[in-house]
Symmetry: C2
Subunit: 141 residues, 2 copies
DNA sequence: TAGATACTTGACTATTTTAGTCAGGTTTAT
DNA sequence: ATAAACCTGACTAAAATAGTCAAGTATCTA
C-alpha cells in the first residue's frame, strides 16, 4: 500500500500555495521550481483541483492560482478526492450482487477493510491545509 | 492509495486457517476453494509466511498449514511485513543525503506523511488474527 | 512400497497503473 | 503585440501487480 505521487504532489503544491495566499497568485512555474515537480504534471493536477473548486485560476501575466476557500476549510480529504487519490481496500464485485471474490457472502475480512478505510479517512478529514502550514511556519522553503 | 491483493489474500487466508487451527492442518487447496484465491498464488504467499515463521507446514497426505503462534499473538503488522506489503508514503532519496525531491530540506509535507504512516501502522499493530476470527464467529464460510 | 496428496521453488508474463511528456492551444496584463 | 501563464487531450515508458506455469520434493496411507 502506498500513496501515489499525484496525491502527494497535490498536497505539497497546495501547502506551498497556501503560504502565499492572500498576497498574490502563485504561478505553477514557481511551485514547480520550489517543490521540484514537473510543470506539465502540475498543470494536470491543478486542472482537477480547479474543477473541484479548491483553487481559482488567475490568467494572464502575473497570474497563477489562489485558494478558493480558507486554508482551514480545505481538508486533506477534499484534496485527495479531487485528484482521484482514493483509499481503497476491498474490491468487491458490486455489479454481481455477490460478496467478495465472487463468493456468496462478505469475505471473512470484509469488516476489517471497512474499519481500515474509516481509520485512514478520519485522519484525512481532521487535517486541514492550515494545519500543515502552521506546522512549518518556522521554515522558509 | 490502495491495499494490494497480496496483503488482502494473506490476511484472508490466515483468518480462514485460524478457524481450523488446533483441529487439523488446513490445505491450501481448501483455502483456495473457500476463499476464491488461486492455488499457485497462495503458494507464493505461504512460502513467505513460513519464512517469517507465521505458519508451519505439515507435509504429506492430510497435510497443510498450521499457525505457528497463537492467533492472539499474530498482529496484522506481522502479516503485512511478511508478504512485503508496506505502508509507504514518502520516497525520499536516502542515499543522496538530501531531502525530498532532491531539495535541501524536508518537503513541506514530510511530517504529515510520517504521521500518516504511524496512524496506519498503529491500526495494524492493534489488530490480531484472533480479533478477526472472533468478529466472524457467527459465520460459517 | 506405490502412489497420491500436498508442499516448494523459481521463472515467466499479461495487464494495469503510474508518472509523467508532448503538442497545441487560449486568455490577459502590460 | 507579445510574453507570461493557464488549459486540454493524447500519448508513452517504466514499474508494479497479479497472477500462471513447470518441475520438482517430502511424507502419509493403503
Amino acid at each position: 500500500m502506498k500513496l501515489t505521487s499525484k496525491g502527494r504532489y497535490a498536497v505539497m503544491a497546495l501547502a506551498d500555495l497556501a503560504r502565499f495566499d492572500n498576497i498574490h497568485p502563485v504561478s505553477l512555474r514557481d511551485i514547480s521550481l520550489r517543490q521540484g515537480i514537473s510543470l506539465d504534471y502540475l498543470e494536470q493536477i491543478f486542472s482537477k483541483l480547479r474543477k473541484k473548486e479548491i483553487v481559482q485560476s488567475v490568467r494572464g501575466t502575473q497570474g497563477g492560482y489562489v485558494l478558493n476557500k480558507k486554508a482551514k476549510e480545505i481538508k486533506l480529504t477534499n484534496i485527495f478526492d479531487a485528484v482521484d487519490e482514493k483509499v481503497k481496500t476491498v474490491q468487491c464485485k458490486k455489479e454481481s450482487k455477490k460478496g467478495c471474490n465472487g463468493k456468496s457472502a462478505k469475505c471473512l475480512t470484509h469488516n476489517l477493510w471497512d474499519e481500515l478505510e474509516n481509520h485512514i479517512n478520519n485522519f484525512f478529514e481532521e487535517k486541514s491545509l492550515d494545519d500543515l502550514v502552521k506546522n512549518n511556519s518556522e521554515r522558509r522553503i
